[in-house]
Symmetry: C2
Subunit: 406 residues, 2 copies
Amino acid sequence: MSLLVHKYGGTSVGSIERIEAVADRVAGTLAAGHQIVVVVSAMSGETNRLTSLAHEITERPSSREMDVLLASGEQVSIALLAMALQKRGIDSQSFLGDQIPFKTDSSHERARIEFVAPNKLLEVVGRGAVPVVAGFQGVDDVGDVTTIGRGGSDTSAVAIAHAVDAAECLIYTDVAGVYTADPRIVDKAARLAYVDFEEMLEMASLGAKVLHTRAVEYAHKNNVPMRVLSSFEDGEGTLVTSEMEHMEKPLVSAVTHERDEAKLTLLRVNDVPGIAWKILGPIGDADIMVDMIVQNVSVEGHTDFSFTVKRADYLRAKDLLEQSVRDNGFNECTVTGDDSIAKVTIVGVGMRSHAGVATTMFETLANENINIQMISTSEIKISVVIDERYVELAVRSLHDAFELDT
Amino acid sequence: MSLLVHKYGGTSVGSIERIEAVADRVAGTLAAGHQIVVVVSAMSGETNRLTSLAHEITERPSSREMDVLLASGEQVSIALLAMALQKRGIDSQSFLGDQIPFKTDSSHERARIEFVAPNKLLEVVGRGAVPVVAGFQGVDDVGDVTTIGRGGSDTSAVAIAHAVDAAECLIYTDVAGVYTADPRIVDKAARLAYVDFEEMLEMASLGAKVLHTRAVEYAHKNNVPMRVLSSFEDGEGTLVTSEMEHMEKPLVSAVTHERDEAKLTLLRVNDVPGIAWKILGPIGDADIMVDMIVQNVSVEGHTDFSFTVKRADYLRAKDLLEQSVRDNGFNECTVTGDDSIAKVTIVGVGMRSHAGVATTMFETLANENINIQMISTSEIKISVVIDERYVELAVRSLHDAFELDT
């Protein structure tokens, strides 16, 4: 018998039919002898509906009231799921953020979790009942409703799993787990039984949108085992856990890719201190996320400086860059860019202790005549920027080269 | 400068456009130098939508979870109205039941109000801001969400007005006030500037559906002046207050009517103790509301016993009555009924001290050849049951007879 946290996202509770299916799954897990705390999101579409209502009133609704508004979405799902469980003869009780309490700071719309009290949840679990907790929401010191922003409900679930010391935090989604590559591109893509926290973090931030980075970080920091699995079919999913727990790790665990990218380059910029700040400052000020940044070695006091942004931000970033060049008097400097690039990444904690992974990657791409435009590495991943046209070819050949289908 | 409570029902906040109109009205009242606490219902349709979701899951959802579910409706409206006020440069803050706190007992779906704390609301008002409070909902001793059931938001508003010692509790509805008769029937029906609490109670329970009886009772008990007025047009509305405050009262304030009635009669029933209980017990057990009850004097040990029910309950009540007759062996007894009757009532606190009102009423109806089938009276009202076909004629002639248009 284990104490488990089940988290169901908006699609998993998107209709009464889906809520009934979730109740069946929870009933099955109980029947198997486990104890469960369930965390749910708002029904899919509800958060958008509420946000639209607010935006009909004003472009900039106050954060405090936005939180009151949006928190109502999860309030509806917890009540409905508790009813569905009760219909099955399962004792169940819903919990709002302030009823746990799920304490956060007062940064509305992006509150940081301070403390999750386990007592009431454990009391309910202890009497054989199922607490159904509203994800995404918390309460601050003065009793105001807060929401924790991006990755909300996943992070809520992990924080609750940590608080009640659950054996696992199961995140039910619309995919069966984490794959060695996108199955839509690679037929032979295989579900990974295990992924290391650090690998998952790289994958999450690199286009594999299964779990939110923030939830994985929270789980990693507090060593809460997470499992990603489908709420639409049965299966073991993928266990996200610490490196130490498995004997042997493959060199490379997965190939991920991201299409939605654009590249900007500043050619022949003066290589003086503060240059990166001068270039990227206005970009950051405009709320444009910069991803890869590459600066070549300096030649004769000049350097080339490249970075990638989301494709939707490309034109705006290019304008800002050209403005920077004029403002700073970089007269010899040229701005170039390309909005049809993609990023392909191999990820694996095994890279730490093995040389030769980069060589294999570059050789594989060269054999396919794919030109590498930028390279960026960390201890456990290598990302390359290539022409978007070759993304499928690159992913498939790398998947083969690292034998990820085995 | 007065401290006022404004209450807006579901229709008044039924769309973003309507919420903006409410915000304009609140802004105008502030500009006139008043302080305001606003109480709102859920957007019209929302409570039905949520109830339907629950009933898709189960016929009998648990009361605790039903309250969690339904309370989300008001949560949405308070956030949206606070945003709309903020857009107008008005400092505003929403309040959920537990944030006030609005303390109730734990009878979910029909909780009784125990205590409304004024401090936080007065603090917000004191800094020139507008608290926007979720009607209908409260919190119990263990921190669970409760709802107060029928007449919810009106009663919430009165309780809050009482707590903050407001000068008036203004109930904004879709009618311009309380009228001397239904304006759809009587062209000359006039808006009443004042109505006594007791008159309002009689009218509310007798088919004039402007205010909920429970809210009026609460206001009466705590002497909170209420004002009924339209959120769709300007006007003074009708002040509902205590008798003592006005010098002179008319004999009769209004003529009300109710069509949706049916009459059942038991002819020649044995006049023995316990007979009313034997007849009406099964009716009440079946959750059928009995309104007027009339028993004639006994003749030769037999009496006739009549009562009225809602027309929709007529056939069910008749079946139960026939069953009672058989079960109790009332062999000489006959059950008759009529489901095309209406009730017409004259109401006025002035009746207390004046004779002759009943005479005028009966004379007026006799002059129009309208037969009176049942009569029931209280200190401040006289109700008669007549054939439904004559209801307009009766109301108009009584309106004229008591000179209510002046």
